[in-house]
């Protein structure tokens, strides 16, 4: 009888331990899920942080033709096997760059002539028309930003390894030359997805 009770208690305890209820986590914390089959939120955080710091250390924005300089977002390519919105990377970079006060992002000039914010573009055009400046030259960006995210996979036995390579370039639109380039590689290794570092 005692043995039965002990076994039942052990089984109940095991069931309690096995079922972890969903909880909120700090999105910048160190106990998030680490996946081997897709980039995680912490990968984008780390890549964005390193890229912006690299750009600041380079001092490229100190040589900008005006301050704050104006930047346009050009082609951002996801060349990995995972489907995700590249804004997970670019938005963090835009926010970080805006916080430095050294750069502003144009929302009325976009890749392929499509403005990111059509309403802002419409209002800008209307204001220019009303003030008689309908034919004025648009406020062109001083820099454009391009990025590519690549994936590299390897395995040895049961151990899998995936690297996500974040590449980014800043081009001076006066010369058409790249004035800053950054690359950040994030590598994860293991046999299965896990929680935390």
């Amino acid at each position: 009888m005692k043995r039965t009770i002990a076994l039942c208690s052990l089984a109940s305890l095991s069931a309690l331990v096995a079922c972890t209820p969903a909880t909120y986590k700090d999105s910048r914390g160190n106990d998030l899920v680490v996946s081997l089959d897709q980039p995680n939120i912490q990968d984008f955080n780390q890549a964005a942080d390193k890229m912006v710091q690299s750009m600041m250390v380079s001092g490229v924005l100190e040589r900008a033709p005006r301050k704050p300089a104006v930047m346009g977002i050009s082609r951002i390519v996801n060349d990995t096997s995972s489907q995700f919105d590249t804004d997970q990377l670019t938005k963090k970079i835009r926010v970080a760059l805006l916080n430095t006060g050294k750069i502003e992002v144009t929302n009325t000039i976009g890749l392929g002539g499509a403005p990111e914010d059509p309403m802002a573009k419409g209002v800008q055009d209307m204001k220019d028309f009303e003030s008689g400046n309908a034919n004025k030259a648009p406020d062109l960006p001083d820099y454009t930003l391009t990025a590519k995210i690549l994936e590299n996979r390897a395995s040895a036995g049961d151990t899998r390894q995936v690297s996500y390579i974040f590449q980014m370039s800043l081009t001076d639109t006066r010369s058409g030359r790249g004035v800053w380039e950054g690359e950040e590689t994030i590598t994860k290794q293991g046999q299965k997805n896990t929680v935390g570092f």
Binding site: F44, N45, Q53, V57, L61, V95
Partner: protein
């Protein structure tokens, strides 16, 4: 009864898994070397991330940059995570857009550098938080 000491030892190790903090000191060692203070609550972590040097400079005109050297006194490779946190002159937190805990490996008897650039010219103060990710219980 025989497992009681083991449980107590395990609990003691769990209790020790806390973070260490590094802040700039009040007495500097020269230009660009502000000195530092370590708040050590985890001796095991400190043995593999002992701060030996702190340097500061300014990049991109007005953005503070900090570099912290940490030394491992361990005989095996160790992992840890860290995060720089930035504050303005009033002590209010200035959060970087991509700021997150980062993981690093340190080899036996190695010194490595951890660095960060302020997220804004307003961010003039910093602190470094270190956390163990290779605790004996997590092996």
């Amino acid at each position: 009864m025989r497992i009681a000491p083991l449980i107590l030892a395990a609990l003691a190790l769990v209790a020790c898994n806390t973070s260490n903090t590094v802040v700039p000191g009040t007495v500097g060692g020269g230009p660009g070397q502000p000195g530092f203070q370590q708040v050590v609550t985890n001796g095991w972590l400190n043995s593999k991330t002992n701060v030996t040097d702190v340097r500061e400079d300014v990049v991109s005109g007005d953005m503070k940059r900090v570099q912290v050297s940490v030394y491992s006194d361990q005989l095996t490779s160790q992992n840890f995570s860290y995060r720089f946190e930035w504050f303005d002159a009033s002590g209010m937190r200035v959060q970087g857009a991509g700021e997150a805990w980062q993981s690093r490996q340190i080899k036996p008897k190695e010194t490595i550098q951890l660095g960060s650039v302020a997220p804004s010219p307003r961010a003039t103060q910093w602190q470094l938080k270190l956390l163990d990710t290779n605790h004996p219980l997590n092996q």
